[in-house]
């Protein structure tokens, strides 16, 4: 039975100002400086360092963090891994000649293959970016750059993955960005950073994948610029060992994202979309599967500031065992954003009585001529549905599996890479099986 949860009021953000946070300074000390980076970038990193010195780790007193306990994270002795080579085999048929691999935050040319990239698209790291592309005018320029974890990334990072699509560039096959963190020998701290610039009329798909071994803390930041009439179909996959920590940020103005969150002991995701042009369209599709003691928190912000924008957000969570999922989705429609069409829905499937779901969809509208709808549902597996399937010969586990698949399919089917869809389905099946032990 689906229970409708009425939407709650807009939260107040408590900015905590503190002197030199030990956690952050400790992490920064472990970061290596990349001498090959251009001067402007080193300056930007210095600037972020000074922002960071005024920030502390968010606590549960901060409205935006009140559901997440970061004490495990701050207590962890995370260090940057000594080895930059992970023994990791990955292959997706569709992207085998379109793949950039970063191991422990650093570009790995050997594991990468970009031979299928057409003219007009650059995919590589920032140090090798052709001069004609002005990364300086884009890097760390998005809204929200002074947030604690984003500043940490900017201050301590030592490589940047860049996807740059020139005007009218079109690429059929998805570009695959794979970030591998190897924390098997020692707990690892890595900070993947991505800059995507889609110039006008360009069109491509991007697959961002995070995976790793052992114990690690990944603090990823993605900045995306989508210019006039450009299109990006973005898929984001977290499929990590469950002893990892992950905090990521994606920001953008006009595109489709499908994100699948399967791994991480603690996962916090802040997608922020700022629609700054008229008639922009954003589709956000999210699927989180949390089992065991996982905590998965998605805080999304969509801001519509111009006329006739469209956004559709559907975020689904499957929560089992003692896992905990959080969804906080803010949609801001400013006065100028007349004729906005915005929908936001968070649907949660609880498959264990000990699981926990917190959900808070929020609309803040100042325009008067708009179509906006939002809501959240929390449901459980229906005993009668299970019985119906069992009466046709399916075992209880198979029946449950099929119903969970049915819930997840709506999002998985929106991923445009077939072999990835199949892989995700298998991984979810495996996760549920393990949970049912």
């Amino acid at each position: 039975m689906a229970v409708q949860i009425p939407f709650a009021t807009v939260s107040k953000v408590n900015k905590t100002v503190a002197v030199e946070d030990i956690f952050f300074t400790g992490l920064l000390e472990q970061c290596q400086i990349n001498e090959n980076e251009p001067e402007w970038l080193q300056n930007t990193r210095q600037q972020a360092k000074s922002w960071l010195s005024h920030l502390s780790v968010p606590s549960r007193k901060d409205e935006d963090w009140r559901f997440v306990d970061l004490s495990d994270l701050t207590a962890g002795k995370f260090v940057e891994p000594a080895s930059k080579e992970a023994s990791y085999e990955t292959s997706l048929q569709e992207t085998k000649n379109n793949r950039l691999v970063f191991v422990n935050g650093t570009y790995n040319a050997e594991l990468s293959n970009v031979t299928a990239l057409p003219k007009g698209i650059y995919a590589g790291n920032l140090t090798n970016l052709p001069q004609k592309h002005q990364a300086k005018t884009y890097f760390a320029q998005q809204h929200g750059m002074q947030d604690a974890f984003t500043s940490l990334n900017t201050a301590g990072g030592n490589d940047v993955a860049v996807i740059w699509a020139s005007k009218n560039a079109v690429i059929e096959t998805p570009i695959h960005l794979l970030f591998i963190t190897d924390g098997e020998k020692k707990a690892a701290f890595t900070q993947p950073r991505i800059l995507v610039v889609a110039e006008s009329n360009s069109n491509f798909s991007l697959l961002e994948e995070y995976t790793g071994l052992g114990e690690y803390f990944t603090n990823a930041v993605t900045e995306i610029y989508v210019k006039d009439n450009a299109r990006i179909n973005h898929t984001r996959l977290q499929e990590e060992s469950t002893v990892s920590y992950h905090i990521g940020k994606a920001r953008d103005s006009h595109y489709t994202i499908s994100e699948i969150n399967l791994g991480a002991k603690l996962f916090r995701h802040n997608p922020e979309i700022l629609q700054q042009g008229e008639q922009t369209v954003s589709n956000l599709n999210g699927l989180t599967v949390a089992m065991g003691k996982q905590t998965s928190d998605t805080h999304s912000i969509i801001a519509l500031t111009k006329q006739s924008g469209i956004t559709n957000q559907l975020h689904k969570c499957i929560v089992g065992d003692r896992a905990h999922t959080v969804f906080n989705g803010k949609v801001f429609v400013t006065k100028e954003a007349q004729m906005t069409d915005a929908t936001q829905l968070n649907r949660n499937l609880m498959i264990s009585p000990k699981a926990r779901v917190d959900t808070k969809p929020e609309l803040q509208i100042t325009a008067d001529n708009v179509k906006c709808a939002h809501g959240a549902t929390v449901s459980q597996l229906e005993a009668d549905e299970i019985f119906y399937l069992r009466s046709r010969g399916l075992s209880e586990n198979d029946a449950i599996q099929l119903l969970i698949d049915a819930f997840a399919t709506e999002i998985i089917d929106r991923v445009d890479i077939e072999s990835l869809r199949n892989r995700v389905k298998k991984t979810i099946e495996q996760k549920i099986k393990e949970a049912n032990g």
Binding site: E382, A383, D384, E385, F387, Y388, L389, R390, S391, R392, G393, L394, S395, E396, D398, A399, L402, L403, D405, A406, F407, A408, T409, E410
Partner: protein, 258 residues
Amino acid sequence: MSETILSIRNLTANVDGTPILKGVNLEIKAGEVHAIMGRNGSGKSTLSKIIAGHPDYEVTGGEIIYQGESILDQEPNERANSGIFLAFQYPLAIPGVSNLDFMRVAYNAKQKYLGLEEIDTFDFEDLIEEKLEVVKMNPSFLARSLNEGFSGGEKKRNEILQMALLDPTLTILDEIDSGLDIDALRIVSDGVNQLKTPDKGYLVITHYQRLLDYIEPDVVHVMKDGEIITSGGKELALELESRGYDFLDDKSTAGVGV
């Protein structure tokens, strides 16, 4: 004497502590069609769900013997795989579960149980295509989610399609006629009649005599307040139709009275 498919003896059952079935006796032999009629709320669906193994009902006494074995301890899927099939009065719609995939998984569950080879997607499509003829169903229904957006009649046809596919030994049809117009009723009953064989048993639950013009019963039982209060030939159904269920009230009082 032909083989007994189903034998129910003194079956009593509760739901949430309330007795619903109060001593049901029923015996179905191979080749026989039994009909159960009765007012709404008399316990017909409860009986059918208990035979199929629904966990909401607690059997408090009696026996259900299927092909010589007690099935009370068996899981619903075990019962299904060994040949018990219930076409539901209200088949559920399950969004996101493809009708085709669901049928293949169900078919393969039975194959596996019987120690037979599981069928692949391609061969299954041929097999199901054949079965669609039985209920004159359009293949487009296979691509849709299980029963989602199906009309009442389409849901019932989809149930009979599953019956055709799973080839059960004991078929229970719970108000397969409800919500059907006359054409759909004919298609559904034709389907059942095509599938009928002398080595199998059939239990047809209905509120109306009309269905029994199409699927002819050998025995008609009347259920009231959790019991089978009277049984007879198919003329009993006609009598119920003309005189209404009220005449049973007199009859049962007469039976109970000294």
